[in-house]
Each structure stands twice: as structure tokens, then as C-alpha cells.
Amino acid sequence: MPKKILLAGGDSFTDKKFFSADKSIDRKQRGGWPMWPEILGKELNLKVICTADSGRGNDYIAKQLLDKIYEYGDRIDSCVVIWSNADRHDFHDLKENLINIPHDLLSIWDKKKDTHRSRKNILANAYADLFVIEGENKFWENLLNESFRYMWLVAEACTKYNIKFIFRQGVVLLDHCIWDEIYDEGYICDDYRIQEIDYYKICDTNKYAKMLNKQYKKNIASPFWEYNNSIASITDKYSNELTISKNDRHPNAKGQAVMSQFLANALTSAS
């Protein structure tokens, strides 16, 4: 009988291909260590299928997971997901063909002196067209609804096939401060500005978020849109010990081991 499967999803915190762009440190400290799915799979004696990809948004993460759930069904024992930011998205703008904000953000990491400004420019330029056109179509509500809908679909699919599952993180924005600066500097019409408090209000009132909270409370870190409930908050707390460098706060080898232990405990509690 083939080994049962641990299905893992996420972004760069989970992607085994991740390699830090911080060139100020030794290559050996920039990547290549076992990521949490590998450590957790070993501990649980499960075959690991990891669909994570650096820089991806929740729509991509969910689509890959759903495809694997539909393919393997009840051969999957457990599904563990560390979701990404809600404003990470593959989309088409009006000028530059396909934009993937996070990929573009990663690509400028070591090319620009002022990374902060470059990040801001990319976000502003990428979203400006969408806001102009789609501003009246409840952009933020749609963006968040998409993340929550996908999370809920993965949760329902896991339930159908009796797959144990836990979700961590979810719908935080890449950087609220950058968004505020984008509005303050007039990149995007102020009519589309959303205050952080209103953002969380949308999260609190979203129907899929409510359903996740009601039906799957033990499987998620509720409310999982809060930073304090995120995995990053754990690695950030002991950042010197658990992250790659001052310039790159992705978890290092030790950070991945801590994450794996944390997720193993969460999986046990949820089951």
C-alpha cells in the first residue's frame, strides 16, 4: 500500500526552491535546507506533495491544492497551508501584459538601491489601472472575497475526502504602510483608499470568512488575518535566531524546524 500523502501549500515560506536574494551573506545561508513540509512529512511518515511557489498569491495556492485533492482524493492524509498575502495576484494590466506583483518585487530586490520606493512604484503602477476601471466594483471586497472563497473551497474539499487540515495566515496585505504612501503621494485616486480598520471590517463580515470561522474554527488560526496569528509573527519574534538575515526575514533552517513543530502541534490539536 503506498504511503499516504501530506499535501502542503504556500509561498516562499514553504517553497523548497526558495533562495534568498540577499547577496551580503554566504550562499550556504541563503537556502537549500529542508523546509517545513519535508520535516513534517518525515515526522508523520507521509509522502510529501508540496505545491508552494515563491511570491504566489492565494488564488494560485488554492488552485494547485484543489487540483491535487481532486487527483489524489482520500490518499491524502493531511493538508497544511500557510496562505499568502491577499494583494498578491497574477493579473493583466492595460499596458504591460501579465503582471505578477510579487515576482516583480522579487526581481528588483538586488537591482535597485531604494527597494522600498521600487516596491511602491510597482504596486502603484500595477494597481492604478485596475482602480481606475474597477474602482466602483468593490475592488477590496472582491479581492478579499476571492482569498476567502478559495480557502473555504479547499476546506470543503478536505472535509469531503476526510483529509485532516490546518490553515495558517491568510489575508494580510503585503504592507499597509506602502499602500498608505501610494495614496498619500497620489499614485491612486484617494477615493479607493481603504483604512486598515475598514480592511479588517471587510474581513470580519465576509461570508466565506464567517463560514470558515463557524465550521472550521479548530483548523484555522482565528482570526487568521491578524498578524499576531501569523507564522511570520513567530519567526519575526526571534528574528536573529530564526530568519535568514536583517535584509531577508524568511525563515532559516532553524526557523523551518520551529515552523514544522508548530504546525505538527496545530495538526494534532485540530484532529
Binding site: K63, H92, E134, N137, N142
Partner: protein, 287 residues
């Protein structure tokens, strides 16, 4: 009253109005669409989220949202899926190559149009560089987006004892046009119809969908083969579509692109009736 959830593209959208302005108003829109006809026959309240030009991802999401919204009130889900090469940008939609034809200038061939549009028709992946094309695995992504939407809705309906009927599917019916632009696109972007079908048949999601839910399709062959779709039937019968000039009625394909602004092959009232009859037949057969 129990509900019928319907979705689709312009063939299902109650707001569709023919762009042929030379036709009298009553020939351009205003008749009942197939969901209304099916709903009337079954005594169901119709919630129709179809939207012209939208792709299968939107179609799927609109059904999912309403299954959640209406819960136990939903009796039946009916979807007339659209072609796979339509991308959604939130509430906007890209312009697939075929739709560019409707906006074409006089005396231009398709190759002329694409040569002009390919640089700024930004939502057309054929204008991407190969790195982007490969990163997004375009043909497989198109297919999987549609197949995933179908499988998800089928699962949701099965889980909730909701009746469900699908028509059409993963149609990518502009192979002839793709052959015409072969010389102006990267060689790796070109795919023959045979290879496209082979790619689909080996797709895991397609295999799962056929294994678990092929019975939900009015004609399972219509998922892959355009000639089995309701669209093909309506295209080839003058009495079922809005308008086609007399001299074009005999041929299988439109050879003269100058005539495209005189054609509207969307279903007329009789065409809509035929679609509703296909849905009713399938419902009686399986439920």
C-alpha cells in the same frame, strides 16, 4: 420557491443585445433566454448570473457564490460553459482573438489584424514573451481553470444533493486562426488541433471529471468536440440564430472576414428554446 442557478456567457445573459444595429430592435434582443424557459417548465425561481464575454472562472465563481448564498433553496444548477481562452480581470474581461474580429477595419485579413493588435492586445497571451508564456503554461492553465471550475461545482452539488447539468466545455475553436498566425508567433506557442486534444485527454482533471461526473454533461463529447456542441448546431441552422447573410449560409466556415459585421450567430428565440429543450432532456434522463 426553489431556485435554478444558471450561468454562462452571452448565450445565457439576459442583457445581451445584438451589435447588428441595422436589425429592428425586436430582432436584437428581448426574448426569454434558456434558463427562464427551463425555470418556467420546472416551476423554479431563476437566478441567472450569466454575463456576456465572461470566462469560465467567472461563470464558476458566480455559481459557487450563489450555492453558498441560497443554500437549501437551490434545486438545480445549469451551466452553459464558454470557451477556455477567456480571461477575467476582476469584473472586466480580456478580448480573445476571435472577438477582435468584431471590431476589425475593412479589407483586413486576420493576419493583418493580429499583426497590428499583437503588440498592444495586452490580454492576449500570444503577445507575451516566451518566458511569460512558459511560466504560465498557457494552454494547460486555460484547460485546468475550466476543468477545476466544473469539478468544484459538480462536487458541491453532489455534496448537497443539488441537481446539476452542464453543456459545452473546453472549447478552443480557433485552430484555423492559430494556423494563420503561426508565422508571427513563437513556434512553441503553436499547437495543432490533434495535439491540443491529446493534451486534454491526458489531463488528470479531465480524466477525473469524466470518471466521476460525465453524466452531468448533456453530451460529454461536446466538452472536447465543437461539432457536438449546441453552438455548432445553432451556427449551422439559419432558423436558430439572430442573423447571417443568405450567401454565407451554405458554408461550414466564414471565408470572407468582411462579412463578419453582418453576422450574429447568437441564438434567437427559437435557438434559446432548443437550448432549453436540451437541458430538459438531460434532466429527465438523469434525475
Amino acid at each position: 420557491m426553489k431556485k435554478l442557478l444558471a450561468s454562462g456567457c452571452s448565450w445565457t445573459d439576459t442583457n445581451y443585445i445584438s451589435s447588428l444595429e441595422f436589425l429592428p430592435d425586436e430582432k436584437r434582443s428581448g426574448w426569454p433566454m434558456w434558463p427562464e424557459l427551463v425555470g418556467k417548465e420546472l416551476g423554479l425561481d431563476v437566478i441567472n448570473t450569466a454575463w456576456q464575454g465572461r470566462g469560465n472562472e467567472y461563470i464558476g465563481q458566480s455559481i459557487i457564490d450563489n450555492i453558498i448564498k441560497y443554500g437549501d433553496e437551490v434545486e438545480l444548477v445549469s451551466v452553459l460553459w464558454t470557451q477556455v481562452d477567456r480571461f477575467d480581470i476582476y469584473n472586466s474581461t480580456s478580448i480573445p482573438i476571435l472577438q477582435v474580429l468584431a471590431e476589425k477595419q475593412n479589407n483586413q485579413t486576420l493576419v493583418d489584424i493580429l499583426a497590428r493588435e499583437v503588440n498592444h492586445l495586452t490580454t492576449n497571451p500570444f503577445s507575451w514573451d516566451m518566458h511569460e508564456w512558459r511560466r504560465h503554461d498557457v494552454f494547460n492553465t486555460w484547460n485546468n481553470t475550466t476543468l477545476r471550475a466544473m469539478y468544484t461545482i459538480a462536487e458541491m452539488c453532489a455534496h448537497r444533493n443539488i441537481k446539476c447539468v452542464f453543456d459545452q466545455g473546453i472549447i478552443f475553436f480557433w485552430h484555423r486562426e492559430l494556423a494563420e498566425i503561426e508565422s508571427i508567433i513563437h513556434a512553441d506557442m503553436f499547437i495543432t488541433e490533434v495535439d491540443y486534444m491529446a493534451m486534454l485527454e491526458t489531463n488528470v482533471l479531465y480524466q477525473r471529471l469524466m470518471r466521476d461526473y460525465s453524466h452531468l454533461f448533456i453530451k460529454p463529447k461536446a466538452i472536447l468536440d465543437y461539432k457536438h456542441t449546441i453552438g455548432y448546431l445553432i451556427h449551422h441552422r439559419n432558423d436558430l440564430k439572430i442573423h447571417m447573410p443568405e450567401h454565407l449560409l451554405s458554408g461550414d466556415v466564414v471565408e470572407d472576414y468582411n462579412d463578419l459585421d453582418k453576422i450574429d450567430a447568437h441564438p434567437n428565440p427559437e435557438g434559446q428554446k432548443l437550448i432549453s429543450e436540451r437541458y430538459m432532456e438531460c434532466l429527465k434522463k438523469y434525475y
